[in-house]
């Protein structure tokens, strides 16, 4: 980064576009995994699947399930998430700390490796969704969860927008605690229940009694992942007005409670002015390519 700045060259991270392309392909180590603390520190170039495999050996998991097999750095930079976002939050809710490298070569850390920490500004959150325009994410400290023992899926048909909203509201007003509540639109609502065997079976029974539907296996989520991966844009809606949103949306993978959805068409979004101010300060030299 320092050299590029000195030579007046532009840098792109993990993608084409710059005079210099920086890859995190060799930053792939799991630096630390402390099962007793439910935390780990990982280099940004590690693939999600590999991290999950390593964590799984200790009965733990990162509750992040975007489609494909992105690197951890990509998950942060692009703000990637999947169905489990409903219960466990987006990547920014799972980041405890980061090490970043700015366009002028400054290396900075924020946060730490503890779950509870309010010291200083949360640069980790700032870099979530920053798309390589604020700097390079080199390493990330993450909050982990115990790996659920059992996992079962309920699929409920939604004939139209009104029914979809009715079903979703019924689920939300119940005592069900799904890990995921997505709508494959048009079509069906998918609920994922995870936890102990007995508890998951009970949740599934309760859900079926209240919503009808039938049990499906994990392939339902593969289908959803494929649809989400194929989507070229993201849109937002008021989570209390699902039916209204669906009435004007021909096709989408809908994250019902988050109020966002993945749609086939490309949708452009500009950063808010405040974000541009921050970017101008962080990359005063204009080294980083969007």
């Amino acid at each position: 980064m320092r050299r590029a700045t000195a030579e007046g060259r532009r840098v792109s991270i993990e993608r084409d576009g710059g005079d210099v392309v920086i890859s995190t392909g060799r930053l792939t180590r799991l630096l630390e995994h402390e099962p007793g603390d439910l935390t780990c520190i990982v280099e940004a170039g590690m693939r999600l699947s590999e991290l999950q495999e390593r964590l799984g050996r200790q009965g733990q998991i990162l509750m992040l399930d975007p489609p494909g097999d992105p690197t951890i750095g990509a998950c942060l930079a692009a703000g990637l998430s999947g169905p489990r976002r409903h219960r466990y939050g987006a990547v920014r809710d799972l980041v405890l700390g980061v090490t970043v490298v700015l366009g002028d070569g400054t290396v900075a850390h924020s946060g730490g490796r503890v779950v509870k920490n309010v010291a200083g500004y949360d640069l980790g959150k700032l870099f979530c969704g920053s798309r390589g325009r604020l700097g390079l994410i080199a390493a990330v400290a993450l909050r982990l969860h115990p790996r659920p023992v059992a996992e079962r899926t309920l699929s409920v048909s939604a004939a139209d927008a009104e029914e979809a909203q009715r079903l979703a509201q019924r689920a939300l007003r119940s005592q069900l605690v799904p890990s995921a509540l997505d709508l494959l639109w048009p079509g069906r609502l998918l609920l994922l229940f995870e936890g102990g065997e007995r508890a998951v079976a009970a949740q599934l029974r309760t859900a079926q009694a209240s919503l009808s539907g039938r049990e499906e296996d994990a392939s339902a989520w593969h289908e959803l992942a494929e649809r989400q991966a194929a989507a070229r844009g993201r849109v937002w809606f008021d989570p209390g007005r699902l039916a209204e949103f669906l009435a004007e949306t021909p096709e989408a993978v809908v994250r019902v409670t988050a109020g966002n959805a993945y749609v086939p068409q490309v949708v452009e979004h500009a950063w808010p002015p405040l974000a541009e101010r921050v970017r101008a300060e962080f990359d005063a030299g204009g080294v980083l390519v969007a």
Binding site: H109, R113, K116, V118, Q175, R198, W236, G259, F282
Partner: protein, 483 residues
């Protein structure tokens, strides 16, 4: 003088009763919950609307006069301590609940609404606002946003930052920024996540949208008595290792239990350490978890195990824990509350170190902590009447903090850096780290008027930068280096 012109400008913009000018009245705003630091402000503005806040901030911006926002003033790190010759902008009068949207599970509030009032607004619908700092009856959501407040149940439910979905923010130049809303995961860098917890240094939130969640089907509260904090800590580790995520795990040591029993008579058993565990969720999951937790406690030497059989009994179990800080006043003339974090696995070692420090300094320390996330609140007891003891207590408190950082933890789990720990920031962050954070601050507050002197060390506040720099774990791992 700048302050005089600010006063003049606001006399024109606001009603007279919205401005406090009398010295005697100004003194009521001289400190927050950290009473050791007091500064009388030049003026206090009682804002009643976003426009009022903007007027005040614009006037300050014109004259380069610093300003400090204030909610209920219950903060414990001096975040709301005024700046000399600066103004205080109080949000206490902005206490309306603006919108309750049950279908979306969102509530929009003015910053002066108290934490508990949020839950009150949705309780009838079986919903609640999860972050529960101990001061929730009086602390405001605006203050919670500034500090990224947690509470006993943040182990499972997270902090304010995980519950704020939208903000209207008056920036330090008086402009209004609207971020987020009811939908989650907006595009671009997570500015909401940065603003929450920025301790009033990046502007003032005048409208806050939060998500509320459904009350769990069932809550079980267990009380377990152990001979030592080591044994109790062992139980905590085993609970986590089993894959159980309680909604709260609180621990109190012997001294705390004694203090609490004297103060509120919660009926606690005598113990070297007491564990209070809350499990919540669907009935069957909680049932299974409770059985496992009891088994684990017994396996780790619990001498007594109680399960609350009613809401009344549960409230009694918690009564003692909630009264802990106040109870200390019964057995010690004064005490100094500290807030530190360590990785859970390092708790036993740090507690041992605290015992050592007690002996070295000749003072007693009561410990109450959120054992689930390693957030300690050591209460350092001292007698103000004994010359030098207050300073000793401060040294001891600081040494405990250093022990936390050495163990890979942090300077603060929930009280914030504020004024109190600004000088200790170099224990945790390198110059490059702090400089990068200052870049962020500078991009939003180029004139440095929004709560200056807080969070970051300044030569004026700290004199020389204290203490040797401690290597960050990632530096140790060879990943990062100081340039």
């Amino acid at each position: 003088m700048g302050l005089d012109r600010v006063r003049l400008a606001l006399e024109g913009a606001l009603r007279p009763e919205q401005l406090i000018r009398e010295p005697a009245e100004l003194r009521t705003y001289e400190c927050d919950g950290l009473t050791a630091h007091r500064v009388v402000p030049g003026l206090v503005v009682l804002a009643e609307s976003t426009a009022d806040v903007q007027a005040a901030v614009r006037a300050c911006n014109e004259e380069s006069v610093p300003f400090v926002a204030r909610g209920a003033g219950t903060g414990l790190s001096g975040g709301a301590v005024p700046v000399a010759d600066g103004i205080v902008i109080s949000l206490a009068r902005m206490k309306r609940v603006l919108e309750v949207d049950i279908d979306a599970q969102r509530v929009t509030l003015q910053p002066g609404v108290t934490n508990l009032e949020i839950t009150a607004a949705v309780a009838a619908q079986g919903l609640y606002y999860a972050p529960d700092p101990s001061s929730q009856q009086v602390c405001t959501i605006g203050g919670n946003v500034a500090e990224n407040a947690g509470g006993a149940h943040c182990l499972k439910y997270g902090f304010t930052a995980n519950h704020v979905t939208g903000l209207k923010m008056v920036l330090p130049d008086g402009e209004l920024a609207e971020l987020g809303g009811k939908a989650l995961d907006p595009d671009g860098p997570d500015l909401l996540g940065v603003l929450v917890g920025s301790e009033g240094t990046l502007g003032i939130a005048t409208e806050i949208t939060v998500r509320v969640i459904r009350r769990p089907e069932v809550v079980r509260t267990l009380l377990a008595a152990f001979d030592s904090t080591d044994a109790a800590g062992g139980a905590v580790s085993a609970i986590i290792a089993r894959g159980i995520l309680p909604s709260a795990i609180e621990m109190m040591d012997k001294l705390m239990v004694e203090a609490v029993e004297q103060a509120v008579d919660a009926g606690y058993p005598q113990a070297g350490a007491l564990l209070l565990v809350d499990l919540d969720g669907p009935a069957i999951q909680v049932e299974d978890d409770a059985v496992a937790v009891e088994e684990i406690c017994r396996a780790n030497g619990a001498s007594e195990l109680r399960s609350a059989r009613s809401d009344v009994e549960r409230a009694l179990f918690w009564k003692g824990r909630k009264a802990a800080f106040a109870a200390m006043g019964r057995i010690s003339p004064s005490y100094y509350v500290q807030d530190g974090v360590v990785p859970r696995t390092k708790l036993p070692a740090v507690l041992r170190r605290i015992r050592e420090l007690e002996r070295e300094h000749g003072l007693r320390v009561g410990n109450v902590f959120h054992a689930g996330d390693g957030n300690l609140h050591p209460l350092v007891c001292y007698d103000d009447a004994v010359p030098g003891q207050a300073e000793q207590a401060q040294h001891l408190a600081k040494a405990i903090l250093e022990a936390c950082v050495d163990a890979g933890g942090s300077l603060t789990g929930e009280h914030g850096i504020g004024l109190d720990k600004a000088c200790e920031m170099p224990l945790l962050f390198s110059e490059a780290d702090l400089a990068t954070m200052q870049r962020l601050r500078h991009s939003i507050d180029p004139k440095g008027l929004s709560n200056p002197g807080k969070v970051f060390p300044t030569p004026r506040l700290c004199g020389e930068v204290p203490g040797p720099y401690r290597m960050h774990p990632l530096e140790k791992a060879g990943l990062a280096q100081r340039l």
